[in-house]
């Protein structure tokens, strides 16, 4: 897990000093203790499954297992939003221009 620390910290934030970096394998009895200061982080796997993690250790273990915080297709949403913004600005400017021209007539 140490070798993935950089990626883990990029996704889960800096490792808290009091947290030990341990791998929790497939232990069905293990329960991650939620940390209210950590909040909630949503992680995704390649099949678009979603999991909410509520502590740094839980997050680190999932990221170590190949999960990520990037949703497949995120970039499209951001690109779409950019197009909406550009269209809105253009429409407003055209409307102003049209209003100005029509008031001169």
């Amino acid at each position: 897990m140490e070798e993935n620390l950089l990626i883990i910290e990029e996704i889960c934030g800096l490792k808290p000093t009091e947290t030990e970096l341990i791998i929790i394998k497939n232990d069905p009895n293990f329960v991650f203790t939620p940390n209210p200061n950590f909040g909630v982080k949503v992680l995704y796997d390649a099949d678009e499954n979603i999991i909410n993690v509520t502590s740094w250790l839980e997050c680190a273990n999932y990221v170590n297992g190949g999960w990520s915080d990037i949703i497949p297709g995120t970039i499209i949403w951001e690109k779409n939003l950019m197009i909406i913004y550009i269209v809105t600005i253009s429409a407003f400017l055209l409307f102003r221009k049209f209003k100005k021209t029509s008031s001169k007539l």
Partner: protein, 668 residues
């Protein structure tokens, strides 16, 4: 009239739709129906994240108890306004609603601009010059590069690369561009209302969710940007500001740190790197230019009764929404998003450890001072105009209730003093300052009030020697000597042996320069017998006004070199103060709890001198009862951090500005 009503209806619908649509399932076809939430249903919402909209969730759970709605700022655009996660913490279900900074700016900005559009237009015509918002939105986007560590924590898609496919940064730029176009078109033509309507800055706080910029800071600095000219750049105040700039750069050289500004979000820098210092220096300069322009362009339309009404209504609405938010988690969440709160409102109606109830506001002191001004304005209005309305009485009572719940004794005591002074000076404010006897009377009144308060307050000790060194002891206790507890130093403190504390190995590194200075002063042979030393005076004052603990933290932390002490760290820069000297572990964000100390951090001793000179030079030109409100605010600012909140800062500047104006209607 018909057109006007239609326009108002259209605007109300706009606000309603902007609030509702993004949080509903209007734009997506949800296959999952919301269910009523019991603690056993956490799994349902965990496995169906990003499926149920807030409105759908609310329709099923408005009255469900043990639910806490929280803001999930890390959400993707796709999951905006939807339930993004659920967790059980302490027997309560924390439901996370997704928001995204790329959308927040536009949504919140449009809500607030639509509200401003209800105000009447002045003579300024809208000027839509494409390049103005273009340049300024690029400048604001620059903040995302300057304060990267803040924004990494606010958005999981944060990307600082200047590339054409960095849609995060491009969207931020366009979001501000849209808002600034609307500011040009809708807000600027209405600046004539500024002085009458600024009390609503306390209600609609205007901090963009997940961003470190306030909507009004954006508007005022943008106004400064479009109105700044050669004359403004060359006036004496600008030149003084520019004189400090090289020192601020020099004083910020060093290790880059990140300051978690928490409830100060939107008006305080988080980083002390060169880019951030440049950004805040320019932004605050333009902010001052903008405020000056707004004041000069709204004074002609100023009306005392309008200001009084708006103070009362805003103060009462804050109390109302504070109570509603405390009763219902959904309202609390909507308060946060719609009004742009720096920090989510209180979830209960109970005071914190028997101390304060800040309700809707981020600071109990700031809101109490605001409501105190509302009370004073109403008193002045009733006795100047001899008018008394039932509506005002009701609103006044609600405001008084707000002050009571905030439990700000300083506001209560100063309200009584100022009201008393008002009746003494009823013949005209100039009479009040006419003779030295009156000034003596004022000083003795304040001292008597302090004396009475001390004697009536069981929490304040009567032991002079304890009081005179209490602050010093507390500040040493906050040093690294007490991490963990240190028996040797504790022993010295118990015996008031400050001389041996100074002799301890590496005490000059472990104690801050301020603590050292106070010790030197306290044990100095130059102190006059039977007269308290400056250290004793500060210590006794801090005990009387219940500031010993907070000021002790400040003294333990503040350790400037000569340059930093005289010129400060720069506008809204807390980092070097907060991190330059190691102390014992802090129990959270501890502010200096005095606006004077805040100014000392930002502009140093020279800044304080200049400000004092500016205030006292103008004191001769005070022309109306706003002087009394200025005194009220100055008294309270000594023990509160209110200047760190944009709305309070604007109130102080505006009241000071009004007190210098010839306002015939007030003296009527």
């Amino acid at each position: 009239m018909k057109n006007l009503n239609l326009a108002m209806f259209f605007k109300l619908i706009t606000i309603f739709l902007i609030v509702i649509i993004p949080f509903s399932s209007f734009f997506f076809d949800s296959k999952t129906e919301a269910i009523q939430m019991g603690l056993q249903d956490v799994g349902f919402y965990k496995s169906n994240t990003c499926e149920v909209s807030l409105i759908d969730f609310l329709s099923e759970n408005f009255y469900t108890t043990n639910i806490v709605i929280k803001n999930d700022i890390f959400s993707s655009i796709e999951c905006f306004g939807k339930v993004n996660g659920v967790d059980i913490i302490g027997g309560e279900a924390f439901v996370y609603i997704g928001t995204n900074i790329n959308i927040n700016i536009v949504l919140q900005g449009i809500i607030w601009i639509t509200l401003i559009s209800f105000l009447s237009k002045g003579v300024t015509k809208p000027k839509l010059l494409f390049f103005r918002p273009l340049i300024f939105s690029a400048f604001i986007t620059f903040q995302y590069l300057a304060e990267q560590r803040f924004y990494i924590n606010q958005s999981k898609n944060f990307n600082n690369e200047l590339t054409s496919d960095n849609y995060f940064l491009i969207n931020i730029f366009f979001a501000y561009f849209i808002i600034l176009i609307l500011v040009d078109y809708i807000v600027i033509p209405r600046v004539n209302n500024f002085l009458n309507f600024f009390p609503y800055l306390f209600l609609i706080i205007g901090t963009f969710s997940a961003a470190n910029i306030n909507f009004y800071l954006l508007i005022f600095s943008y106004t400064g940007f479009i109105t700044v000219n050669k004359k403004a750049l060359l006036n004496k105040y600008s030149l003084l500001y520019f004189l400090f700039v090289p020192f601020w750069f020099y004083n910020n050289i060093g290790e880059e740190t990140y300051f978690d500004n928490d409830k100060l979000r939107g008006f305080v820098s988080t980083s002390n790197n060169t880019l951030s210092v440049i950004f805040w220096i320019i932004l605050i300069y333009l902010f001052f230019v903008g405020i000056n322009y707004l004041l000069e362009n709204s004074i002609n339309e100023f009306q005392f009764y309008k200001l009084k009404n708006n103070f009362l209504i805003s103060g009462a609405t804050i109390v109302l929404f504070g109570i509603l938010g405390a009763q219902n988690t959904f309202i609390n969440y909507l308060n946060y998003f719609i009004f742009g709160q720096n920090k989510i409102g209180m979830r209960t109606f109970e005071s914190v450890e028997g101390n304060t109830w800040r309700g809707f506001s981020a600071s109990a002191e700031a809101v109490a001072e605001f409501q105190g001004v509302a009370v004073l304005l109403t008193i002045f209005y009733i006795f100047n105009y001899k008018k008394f309305k039932l509506k005002d009485t009701f609103l006044l009572l609600v405001n008084l209730f707000g002050i009571y719940k905030a439990n700000d004794v300083a506001v209560m005591v100063s309200l009584i003093i100022i009201t008393f002074l008002y009746f003494v000076s009823k013949k005209g404010i100039t009479n009040l300052l006419k003779t030295k006897y009156n000034i003596l009377f004022l000083v003795s009144l304040v001292i008597s009030a302090g004396f009475l308060y001390t004697n009536a307050n069981p929490g304040v000790s009567r032991d002079y020697s304890f009081l005179s060194e209490n602050l010093l002891i507390e500040s040493i206790k906050k040093s690294v000597y007490f991490e963990p507890a240190n028996k040797e130093v504790e022993n010295y403190l118990y015996k008031s042996n400050f001389i041996d504390i100074k002799k301890l190995d590496s005490s000059d590194r472990k104690l801050s320069k301020s603590t050292y200075l106070l010790i030197d002063n306290y044990i100095s042979d130059n102190n006059i017998k039977f007269l308290p030393s400056p250290t004793s005076i500060i210590s006794i004052t801090s005990s009387v006004i219940n500031r010993t603990e907070k000021w002790a933290y400040f003294i333990a932390k503040y350790s400037p070199n000569i340059g930093e002490f005289f010129f400060g760290y720069g506008p809204m820069q807390f980092n070097n103060y907060y991190f330059s000297h190691e102390t014992s572990k802090l129990p959270g964000l501890i502010l200096p709890h005095s606006s004077i100390l805040d100014i000392l951090i930002f502009t140093g001793l020279f800044g304080i001198f200049i400000l004092n000179y500016f205030v006292f030079k103008n004191i001769k030109s005070f022309k109306n009862n706003f002087l009394l409100i200025t005194i009220f605010l100055i008294i309270n600012l000594m023990k509160s951090d209110s200047i760190l909140y944009l709305s309070s800062f604007i109130m102080i500047v505006n009241i000071f500005f009004l007190s210098k104006k010839e306002l015939v209607s007030i003296e009527k």
